[in-house]
């Protein structure tokens, strides 16, 4: 079963990616080829193997829940593509 162009459009919408018609076409071919090459994994008997877990659980000890990073200062605001005073400016969210 190959991947279709409609599926590529659906996945692109999920990924919030605008694609040109040419990109849709080449990605349909690429993903089809890649997933086909990866099909062999489906034949692997993974039996009762658990999905891989983080390597060193001791590495994530609990710590006190305290704010340490400061709220956005000017250095962060300077990275905003568009700002309004001390706020990040975005297009209208609620229609």
């Amino acid at each position: 079963m190959g991947i279709t162009r409609d599926e590529v459009r659906t996945v692109a919408a999920l990924a919030r990616l605008e694609l040109t018609s040419d990109q849709e076409e080449s990605l349909t071919g690429d993903l089809d080829q890649i997933l086909d090459a990866f099909r062999k994994l489906q034949t692997l008997d993974t039996g009762t193997a658990e999905p891989m877990r983080p390597f060193d659980l001791d590495a994530a000890p609990l710590r006190e829940d305290r704010v340490e990073n400061l709220p956005a200062d000017d250095a962060h605001l300077e990275q905003a593509p568009d700002r309004h005073g001390r706020l990040f400016h975005v297009p209208k969210i609620i229609e």
């Binding site: 605008e18 993903l31 990866f38 891989m52 590495a59 990275q79 990040f88």
Partner: protein, 488 residues
């Protein structure tokens, strides 16, 4: 021949500085001059930090003159892959979407380098968001291999390997998610190490695949790599995946020999369609280690054939999530005049990401989407457990594994660019190490008939970087491959 200042090892440069024979400023100027001479042709550097570096070097010389000890990397010019955040210094990750991003803070590894006296000289080219095996996927153009400029340097840390090989810096940092330090180190004839997952903090490192990414050194000798790793390794409370395990004295580890050490040869790593000179050089290096007292055993990593698909499903799934943050709101590019939020996201990302990044985001989103999750992502995570189990079983019979880094030497620019599967297969011998979270080292071990470098890969037990470095140092004692520099 006496090496020029730009080609000195860190140890030698440091010794000369302490004897007052050379200044940090002179070392820096040599690195900057070399960058000026070579980089137009090679494309390794994305952003130079000349002014800040000159100020830092002058300050360092003053401290040295006053009798201060600024640290183990005092006055050493170091360059960084451009996915490592540097305060007030542009950090692009090789992507158009971050073309003008200037971080407000240093990554922990950068803080540690600076605290050890290092001078940050430049930010280095890489595949966009570290996604690639050739450094051809950078939005700012490809990096070229200094041994043959028609060929790729390997990727994704291609700029790091090229800058180190040509003396644009004394050493560099790269990141390795599926081989991105080891492959370029091998293709460019330098030393590169991927530390154990958790050994080095990733705070301030632009994420690609968080269960696989690791920062590591690229250097001109094992000794220099050990020094650099010693500086950047260790727990960081700002990265919850960094390990609290203590870091041993890695340079002392180099002093031991390899008598009685058991080297495992994974038979699957010699079975691929391999360039004959690669196999010959790697087997010769292993024979040298045997003569130095090591014993060789054959081992098997039976799930190797599933590693590429397992990696590309897991890594792209994680990437699709990690790269969701580039949405045109907080930093990076925003598409002009969006009518609404959704259009802003889609158009900004569509215009800002390159072809390979889009391909991987699409693959990862697909693998995580409803109806496919069990068949792809979950299956890959189970396969990953089996792949990690292969290594555990192998290490019951040996202390390190030895293999090539890649089945071939550097390929030509453009040769694999239109064929993603062939490009992905470049990583076939490096990728399992990341899936298993274990450390691996690439050291130069010869040249092919066309004069291109070949890398020996040494793979170790979790957190046993010391043994890898010791074996790497023993290999260097038995050969002189690491002293060869590319033609000017």
């Amino acid at each position: 021949m006496t090496p020029e200042l730009a080609d000195l090892s860190i140890r030698e440069a440091g010794a000369r500085m302490r004897r007052g024979e050379v200044t940090a400023l002179a070392l820096l100027e040599a690195a900057l001059a070399r960058t000026g001479e070579r980089d137009d042709e090679l494309g390794a550097v994305l952003t130079r930090a000349d002014e800040a570096a000159l100020t830092a070097a002058t300050g360092l010389d003053a401290r040295l003159a006053a009798g201060d000890d600024p640290g183990p990397l005092a006055g050493i010019p170091i360059a960084l892959k451009d996915n490592i955040c540097t305060r007030d210094l542009r950090t692009t990750a090789g992507s158009k979407i971050l073309e003008s991003f200037v971080p407000a803070y240093d990554a922990t590894v950068v803080e540690r380098l600076r605290a050890a006296g290092a001078i940050v000289v430049s930010k280095l080219n890489c595949d966009e968001f570290a996604m690639g095996s050739s450094t051809e996927n950078s939005a700012f153009g490809p990096t070229r291999n200094p041994w043959d400029t028609a060929r790729v340097p390997g990727g994704s840390s291609g700029g790091s390997a090229v800058a180190v090989a040509t003396g644009m810096c004394a050493a560099a940092l790269g990141t390795d998610t599926g081989g991105s330090i080891r492959l370029p180190a091998s293709f460019c004839g330098v030393v590169g190490m991927k530390p154990s997952y958790g050994r080095v903090s990733r705070y301030g490192v632009i994420a690609y695949a968080s269960s696989l990414d690791q920062v590591g050194p690229v250097a001109r000798s094992v000794d220099d790599a050990a020094l650099l790793l010693g500086v950047i390794a260790g727990h960081d409370r700002r990265d919850s995946t960094s390990s609290p395990r203590p870091v041993p004295d890695l340079r002392t580890a180099l002093l031991g020999d390899v008598t009685g050490l058991r080297i495992g040869l994974p038979k699957e790593y010699f079975a691929e369609a391999m360039q004959p000179e690669v196999e010959r050089a790697v087997r010769a290096a292993i024979a040298d280690l045997e003569r130095a007292g090591a014993t060789v055993v054959s081992v098997s990593l039976p799930h190797t054939e599933y590693a590429i698909s397992t990696y590309y499903l897991i890594a792209t799934a994680e990437a699709s999530s990690n790269l969701a943050r580039y949405d045109g709101v907080r930093y990076g590019r925003r598409a002009p005049h969006p009518q609404n939020l959704s259009e802003m996201y889609c158009a900004s990302r569509g215009a800002g990401f390159g072809a390979e990044v889009k391909r991987r985001i699409m693959l990862g989103t697909y693998a995580l989407s409803a109806g496919y999750y069990d068949a792809y992502y979950l299956k890959a995570q189970q396969a990953r457990t089996l792949i990690a189990g292969d290594f555990r079983a192998a290490f019951e019979r040996c202390d390190v594994l030895a293999a090539p880094v890649a089945p071939t030497t550097a390929f030509r620019l453009g040769e694999r660019l239109d064929d993603p599967i062939t490009m992905y297969l470049t990583d076939v011998l490096t990728i399992s190490v990341n899936l298993a979270g274990i450390p691996a080292l690439s050291v130069p071990c010869g040249f092919d008939d066309a004069g291109l470098p070949i890398g020996l890969q040494l793979i170790g037990r979790p957190f046993d970087e010391s043994t890898l470095l010791r074996v790497g140092a023993a290999h260097e004692h038995a050969s002189e491959w690491h002293t060869r520099r590319p033609p000017a």
